[in-house]
Symmetry: D2
């Protein structure tokens, strides 16, 4: 698949996620093991101080990590876990998450993600995340139906 088709395929996957449409997410770039996911910082994505809500920044991290891991492994995947550090209030016109797969094995990819806020002043790092994307139905508790 060429680069244009690959990005188009990713955008189709994103368009099938109702929540991604609900927050207005856009896939800016996608290649195996790497992605760039963005939202325009509309009022409805903010918290009480006018910054992006942490949940929006988390959404971007979660989904960008998954796209990076899924395209690295090229099998159906689920997000197993991640951690995120917020380092600055997310203020600006747009947020962009850039994720890449740092290590890929048969069963999982460990990915990293940086989230930037874009404004007239340029782009500023707002959050840093790291997580595990797992092959679906194989080492992925999130895909199991077994009870606790």
């Amino acid at each position: 698949m060429d680069a244009v088709a690959f990005l188009a395929m990713g955008r189709e996957v994103l368009a099938r996620q109702p929540f991604s449409r609900h927050v207005g997410a856009e896939l800016l770039a996608l290649e195996p093991g790497r992605c760039e996911l963005s939202v325009a910082l509309t009022d409805e994505l903010k918290q009480q101080d006018g910054f992006a809500h942490g949940g929006v920044v988390s959404y971007l991290a979660d989904n960008a990590l998954t796209f990076a891991g899924g395209t690295a492994m090229q099998v159906p995947v689920v997000t197993s876990e991640y951690k995120i550090n917020y380092v600055r209030p997310a203020i600006g016109e747009r947020l962009v998450a850039r994720a890449h797969a740092a290590h890929v094995s048969r069963s999982q990819a460990v990915c990293q993600c940086e989230i930037y806020a874009l404004s007239g002043e340029g782009e500023k790092l707002c959050a840093i995340a790291q997580g595990t994307i797992a092959r679906k139905g194989d080492g992925s508790a999130a895909a199991d139906q077994s009870s606790p």
Copy 2:
């Protein structure tokens, strides 16, 4: 402040967060160091397989951790960082996050959160989170404006 006023105060804070309104979040319970935050699992909160999107589960974790930490410390706070493990697809009519402060100091609270999916079959654990809620402007990089 009595228990009813405390919950009403929390609901007022939540209502001032545009993103919390955007996802339809409701504060079911609130006391110092403890909270219960919920969303009805409407279609727009789902991903392509009909489960709650990970970003929604993350939003609940992030916000519930913050309410637990903020009410434990009773000062203005920011979420500093957290990690989340997804353990089962979030399927059902409603998600409920239950968070509590596990350790509170002058400058931060370390909080834990469990997210459950509620359906006709009862409630099932979907995700587990742990994070740091920091006093605003004191040990909180997220409140700093300094550049990297």
Copy 3:
């Protein structure tokens, strides 16, 4: 296996870990999905301020999480990932880590752990951890030999 034999089996596993012997670790309690692991706080386990070194607290968290997850799943396991929050300097005569499996599936267990320092003043919470213990060779990158 009865409770006494189960603990004896766990102690045998621990005794086969050279690093656990190097730090003087002792298994105080073990049952399926639950364990208590301890070290006497000798000088060689400290950092420059006389507290336990973070690496010792991390060792306890890592190993206690693994025992909790391994005994919950009762299959060969590896530690996939964990996070730890240090909440107080670990000062005292002894450290004790108490871990339990919070969710168990066919392929992994998500476990939580609290680490306490014991002194004449009683026991004080020093750190809180959460992590994933994975079935070996199944969903466990750490057991894979594939290269990045």
Copy 4:
């Protein structure tokens, strides 16, 4: 301080940590916001399968993150929290942790670390970590003496 003096200063700090001596840690490189910490993989640092014990890999991550954050901030610091993903068994003659500060503010540094195993086959990535190093006594629960 020139580069040679800076590294010598770091080695002096490391030498004052009894646990770092106990595991045989060596500081290979140190500059503001960046460090390289290593151990020879002697038998006593292994677990039952002949790999480095996860606790050793964790020790390296914890300490390398702290050196990176402390030299970035150039104030007394404590490790507040971190997460680590193990991606491959740590097999070889030596382990090396390379850490850098990804974001620095007045009160904390968010740092990242990669841990490699070195053998005749070259170096292989074994673990990836991310954590928060906090200014001592300011936003650092670990430096507080307040009780839970």
